[in-house]
């Protein structure tokens, strides 16, 4: 096992990792920017090293200073947390060449899963369903195009290769619309991105985002844990996660879990990771991507399984074995997480930095709060706006929602605007309560114009 772990991160996840290390008897080294001198992870760690000024590019992304901090502090392992350098294969590589353990998978696994095309190819080989599509640009002169579209199955969506912001997007309901749609999309894309290339893939209606936490050891054993549903998103940013999914039954769980395991095995994955799928109302699911790190929402899985996933991650990175031997890992209850951000939901989620003048956390039973806040803390302007993760567990989804409402109501964060009011609206919304929310939920029901507050 490692002796001393350097945490190359900040905020709640740095705090979470320090706690796990402490319980494992490992010494901890916090690295921090000058903007984080007073932050919780610095106060909690055994040692701390300042690695640069506020901007992340000069501190939390400053590989030489981080590696050097590990060297001068004598850390034998680095935990990257999430974001920052956590999915940077070069960083994993540097750690290795400096004989410092990178707490995560191999750089090859990170690389393979980091490249969309390579990942799709790997998944196809591993018999993991991917969204069917043209794999690359299409041309209206290509006579095989209609056949391909038929094979994919209508509706299909035309997307610009240069991508982004909905421009050059066209949904095609049937063959007669196909070629015209492609032409329009190409023209739009050319205007928007200076690149007219477009490709087509299956258009998934009413998509849910459902993911599987996998745990893998160096001996090649891979376990999948109960799924998490993360359909409540805003601009592809998850806001609410829950486990189990209100949609998944045990047979679909087994099917998807096994696909997730194949995905991990295909890249000889070690430690913990997450395989993300899009799922349609028929229960057909398609590989989205694999996150090769601990995730923000690992907490809901911890709540239902009782596992300490960060400890597992560290154990497995140190070469230890998985102690349990089964899929469908036993779970109890239903857990929901809300990501509380320092944003003003009434004003297009604009960031709301400031000083926390009073902090009162919601309390037990069945309530968990992961946060780095304390009364008097000043939120730096350089980093993401996550203030706290509020997680509840109940006997079932209905109990969990009631508990979340109670906890949101109790949570007091004075001094900044937060997304708590948004979550209160979501918890009251019948579409969410019925478990019928898709990835378009926030845009459809919770924007200023649709939530009835303006």
């Amino acid at each position: 096992m490692f002796k001393k772990v350097l945490i190359a991160n900040r905020g709640e996840i740095a705090v979470r990792i320090i706690r796990a290390c402490r319980e494992m008897g490992l010494k901890t080294v916090a690295v921090h920017s000058e903007a984080d001198n007073d932050s919780m992870h610095v106060k909690m760690a055994d040692e701390s090293v300042c690695i640069g000024p506020g901007p992340a590019s000069e501190s939390y992304l400053n590989i030489p200073n981080i590696i050097s901090a590990a060297e001068i502090s004598g850390a034998d392992a680095i935990h990257p947390g999430y974001g920052f350098l956590s999915e940077n294969p070069y960083f994993a590589d540097v750690c290795e060449s400096c004989h410092i353990h990178f707490i995560g998978p191999s750089k090859e696994a990170i690389e393979r899963m980091g490249d969309k095309a390579a990942a799709r190819e790997t998944m196809r080989k591993a018999d993991v369903p991917i969204v069917p599509g043209s794999d690359g640009p299409v041309s209206i002169d290509d006579a095989g195009l209609p056949k391909l579209a038929r094979k994919i199955g209508y509706p299909v969506i035309v997307k610009a290769v240069a991508g982004g912001g909905g421009r050059g997007l066209r949904v095609v309901a049937n063959e007669s619309e196909l070629l015209p749609a492609i032409e329009v999309a190409q023209t739009e894309a050319k205007k928007a991105f200076g690149n007219g290339d477009v490709y087509i893939e299956k258009y998934i209606e009413k998509p849910r985002h459902i993911e599987f936490q996998i745990v893998a050891d160096a001996k090649g054993r891979v376990i999948y844990l109960p799924e998490r549903e993360c359909s409540i998103q805003r601009r592809h940013q998850k806001l609410i996660e829950e486990s189990p999914s209100p949609f998944v039954d045990s047979s679909l769980r087994r099917k998807m879990g096994k696909a997730a395991r194949r995905a991990a095995e295909a890249v000889d994955y070690v430690t913990v990771g997450t395989v993300e799928f899009l799922v349609d109302p028929e229960g057909d699911f398609y590989f989205l991507e694999m996150n090769t790190r601990i995730q923000v929402e690992h907490t809901v899985t911890e709540m239902v399984t009782g596992l300490d996933l960060v400890r597992e991650q560290i154990r497995l990175a140190a070469g230890e074995r998985i102690a349990y031997d089964r899929d469908d890992y036993p779970a109890r209850g239903h857990a929901i997480e809300c990501r509380i951000n320092a944003e003003d939901p009434e004003h297009d989620f604009r960031p709301s930095p400031g000083i926390i003048t009073q902090l009162i956390l919601p309390g037990p039973p069945g309530v968990r709060v992961d946060t780095h806040l304390y009364t008097g803390y000043t939120i730096p302007t350089y980093y993401d706006s996550l203030l706290a993760k509020l997680i509840v567990i109940g006997d079932n989804r209905e109990e969990a929602i009631k508990r979340m409402q109670r906890a949101l109501n109790e949570f007091k964060i004075d001094g900044v605007k937060t997304t708590i009011p948004l979550f209160q609206k979501v918890m009251e919304h019948e579409v969410f309560r019925k478990g019928e929310a898709y990835t378009d939920f926030i845009g459809k029901y919770m924007t200023a114009s649709t939530n009835g507050t303006q």
Binding site: E34, A35, D36, N37, D38, S39, V49, C50, I51, G52, P53, G54, S59, P64, N65, I67, S68, A69, E71, I72, S73, C98, P353, I355, T378, I379, P380, T381
Partner: protein, 153 residues
Amino acid sequence: MVNKRLEELLEFAESTDLQEVVWEKKGALISFRRSAFSDVHSKSMETPAAASVANEPSQPPEPMTIKSTMVGTFYRSDSPNRPPLVVEGTVVASGQPVAAIEAMKIMKDVLSPASCKIVKALVANGHPVEYGQPLFEVEPEPLTPSPLPGERV
């Protein structure tokens, strides 16, 4: 006159890594604090560089220092069997090496951000240093400024 001197010193301050520049003359004090060095709280409020003019310093001004711009092991000389690059009293020009820091097996020179005189070393040879850590206490080389138009001394 103050404003002229202000501009002049501001340029100087911006051109360096110095945390603070204090200019005292006839009981008038001009001090600069570059917020990259100030504490977090004020920081997230302040604009990149704030200047203050007062007739007396609120508390004794922090001594001028050369700070580390990297993380690593501090050496007084650039190779094991050489004498220290600077000692107490050494006067160095802007850009002159005053020490070396080893990181990831590579030695990098620490350059003086301004012409100044070394008052004392603050870190012992072979000790680790973090970003922003003061390495040397220095005092500014008394510059002989070209008299400013309209200035009476």
